[in-house]
């Protein structure tokens, strides 16, 4: 069975997963429910709705993955489950 430490680590991992997927859902779906309205605003000289689909959401995904990975690595270290110093399997 999972030790209490493993259990706590998994709870924290799950929480991070839910936060990450909520941000992902926002940039992949919610934004495009309102793209027609967003197009009235502008960003860098582009219409905002067009910008989000051409660049904005993709940049958000890249940043989101790196951010979420850093958080997860911090969690792993905190609970002593990190494998960063591992050499071989």
């Amino acid at each position: 069975m999972a030790s209490p430490k493993q259990e706590a680590h998994w709870q924290a991992t799950k929480r991070l997963m839910i936060i990450t997927l909520m941000i992902w859902f926002f940039f992949s779906t919610v934004v495009f429910m309102f793209a027609a309205d967003l197009n009235n605003a502008s960003f860098l000289g582009y219409k905002l709705g067009y910008y989000m689909t051409a660049q904005g959401s993709m940049l958000a995904f890249i940043i989101l993955i790196f951010w979420s990975n850093n958080r997860q690595e911090k969690l792993d270290r905190e609970f002593g489950f990190s494998d960063e110093d591992r050499e071989e399997d």
Binding site: M1, S28, A35, L44, S57, F61, S68, S82
Partner: protein, 636 residues
């Protein structure tokens, strides 16, 4: 051995640095040769020949006789390089050649593919990649087989893998074949499309046969470097040449606005089915132009309304969830040294993919404005048709029927809606349109070939590995020697490759449909069994089998029911009444939605009525959820 491989890893940046420098020097050399009067055709031939030779050389140098090397590249591919290899694996001939063209004609609605083909990596990174790496599996069905137990579950996973990958691979061989055909043909010796396909296939096999995953990994990195250089140079060059801005991605705002104004000025017209048919422009049951397109929608305008939003979002969701279920992508993350490295490498993959995908809308913008803005010397819209017909590149593409001009209103002036062009031509012809030297066109051909080959490599390897490891070794002959297993793996690679090429050259690809189908098949059958295998302990073997089979069957049944409007295939029941029967705008590109829903419901309900898995399985799942420690299954 361990020492030399460590030295090899440490010297990778140097090796690929020299390679990149060498490739750039080769481009400069070709530019000089062009100045010296070598013909464009020979330059194209040299580009394609030289790069293919390099990939084959890498494949040969990476040959191996070890199972761990063959299936997992020895589990020592560094994070950043695995990111590049995944990016090449991911970006197919379609991404390279057709995406900017799709955006050029489709505008906002087409860009759902951009979101769909990038957002999925968030799912890969958070839900799957690190856990599958911890498992230590050789293939994706290997995970299903070990987590749920039993040969039948493993077999179902192999089945879905084959359906999804095969749908995908023929499109790649088609792209490889048509580029190879263009590069190898001369007026004296025209070569056939089939010859192009088989030439491409043989190079693909040389890249993968001798060293399996190891060869594929290192040649994919090389292919990524070629394809990204080939994509970015024309974009930056044109942007500088016409003073659109030094850095196009942040500086094309004015041009996008200008396009909206020009669209107003020229007027966006939508032809009826009758008009298109009379002008002999191929079109589907709904009156959409199919192979040759014209601009119907605005470049940056977002059509209002719930239907447009839903169509956009539903397509993006299918592509995203499909991304997270495609075996040839997931298996790339089995090759990293650690679990943390697998996770980080997903981030790098998306970064390298983003370099191209962020550029595609910009390339579409510069290409469109080159044709439309009357202030630019390259403009053709609004000019006299007789003058336009004199332009060299227009003549070239008209000769191969990729461009058609129809003077609907008989005024002798080329209107926006009178210019028909194949989507693929946008990327291939943009350097010529903007008047760049031919050396850039040769470079673009080499890039397109690299993109198609790298994806085909990954797909054929994924299929051959699944059959050789999961079916042959795990089910048929578990006592097979290492040597025998590797022979079987290689024979399968060749057989599958030739089967795919044969189907491609026989023109049977019509029945395999769109690239998007591969994503829908994968998400229908594999997404929930994979994700719940890690995230839900209560998931049982019977549940997973029900999820895979019901998902695949429901998705396929929906596809047959809804039909394909632009393909004349009689066994699709919905081919004619398509408009009336599809369910909330879920058409043939989106059949993964009903498929995955059925899969989820079947998997959860069957899992709940069957007995929970044993304590050993629970412990295994606990072990998978932490990064530290040894891999869960020990293949050798």
């Amino acid at each position: 051995m361990a020492k030399t491989s460590k030295q090899f890893i440490a010297s990778l940046p140097k090796i690929y640095g020299i390679y990149t420098g060498g490739f750039l020097a080769f481009i400069v050399l070709m530019a000089f040769l062009e100045k010296a009067g070598i013909s464009g055709r020979n330059i194209g031939l040299m580009f394609v020949g030289f790069t293919i030779l390099i990939y084959a050389l890498i494949g040969w140098l990476s040959r191996t006789t070890e199972v761990d090397e063959y299936y997992l590249a020895g589990k020592k591919v560094p994070t950043v390089f695995n990111g590049m290899a995944t990016a090449a694996d991911w970006m197919s001939g379609a991404s390279f050649v057709a995406m900017a063209g799709g955006i050029y004609f489709g505008g906002y609605t087409y860009m759902a593919f951009l979101i769909g083909w990038t957002g999925g990596y968030v799912l890969v990174s958070t839900l799957l990649a690190p856990y599958l790496r911890k498992f230590g599996c050789y293939t994706v069905p290997d995970f299903i087989g070990a987590r749920y137990g039993g040969n039948f579950a493993r077999f179902c996973a192999v089945l879905i893998l084959l359906v999804a990958s095969f749908t995908y691979v023929t499109a790649q061989i088609t792209a490889t074949g048509s580029i190879a055909q263009k590069a190898l043909s001369t007026p004296e010796f025209p070569v056939s499309f089939a010859f192009g396909c088989y030439t491409g296939l043989i190079t693909i096999l040389i890249c993968s046969m001798l060293g399996g995953m190891r060869s594929v990994t290192w040649s994919q990195v090389a292919q990524y470097i070629v394809l990204i250089i080939a994509y970015l140079i024309p974009l930056f060059w044109i942007s500088w040449k016409y003073n659109f801005g030094i850095f196009p991605h942040v500086m094309l705002g004015d041009e996008v606005q200008r396009l909206a104004a020009l669209e107003q000025q020229f007027g966006l017209v939508r032809h009826t089915k009758e008009v298109l048919t009379e002008a002999k422009i191929p079109n589907d049951a709904l009156g959409n132009a199919t192979s040759l397109k014209y601009i119907v929608g605005g470049h940056s305008a977002v059509p209002a309304g719930h239907e447009v939003a839903w169509r956009y979002i539903s397509l993006a969701i299918c592509m995203m969830v499909g991304t997270a279920s495609l075996p040839h992508i997931l298996m790339r993350y089995f090759t990293t040294p650690t679990v943390t490295a697998a996770r980080r490498s997903v981030g790098w993959s998306l970064f390298f993919i983003g370099l191209l995908y962020l550029s595609a809308p910009m390339l579409a913008t510069v290409s469109k404005i080159s044709l439309m803005d009357p202030n630019l010397p390259t403009a053709i819209i609004g000019k006299k048709i007789s003058d336009v017909m004199q332009i060299q590149w227009v003549q070239n593409w008209i000769a191969v029927k990729q461009v058609v001009i129809v003077d609907f209103n008989k005024d002798g002036i080329l209107q926006l809606s009178e210019w028909f062009m194949n989507e693929d031509v946008v990327v291939l012809a943009t350097p010529e349109i903007a008047g760049l030297p031919y050396v850039i066109s040769g470079l673009v051909a080499a890039g397109g070939l690299a993109a198609a080959m790298s994806t085909a490599d990954g797909l054929i390897l994924a299929m051959a590995n699944a059959i050789s490891h999961d079916v042959y070794y795990k089910m048929i002959d578990p006592k097979a020697s290492v040597q025998k297993r590797l022979v079987v793996a290689r024979v399968l690679l060749v057989v599958l490759g030739f089967l795919a090429a044969w189907i491609t050259t026989k023109g049977l690809t019509g029945i395999l449909g769109a690239v998007a189908w591969a994503f829908d098949f994968a998400m229908s059958g594999l997404f929930f069994p994979l994700v719940l295998g890690v995230w839900w302990k209560r998931a049982t073997r019977s549940g997973a089998i029900a999820g895979m089979l019901c998902g695949l069957i429901a998705g396929t049944a929906y596809l047959v029911w809804v039909g394909v409007p632009n393909k004349d295939i009689t066994f699709f029941m919905g081919a004619t009444p398509w408009k009336d029967i599809h369910w909330i705008f879920v058409d043939n590109l989106r059949f993964g939605i009903p498929g995955a829903l059925v899969s989820l419901i079947a998997m959860v309900s069957v899992s709940l009525v069957t007995k929970p898995e044993s304590k050993a399985v629970m412990d295994m799942v606990d072990e998978v959820r932490i990064a530290s420690g040894k891999t869960v299954i020990r293949n050798a």
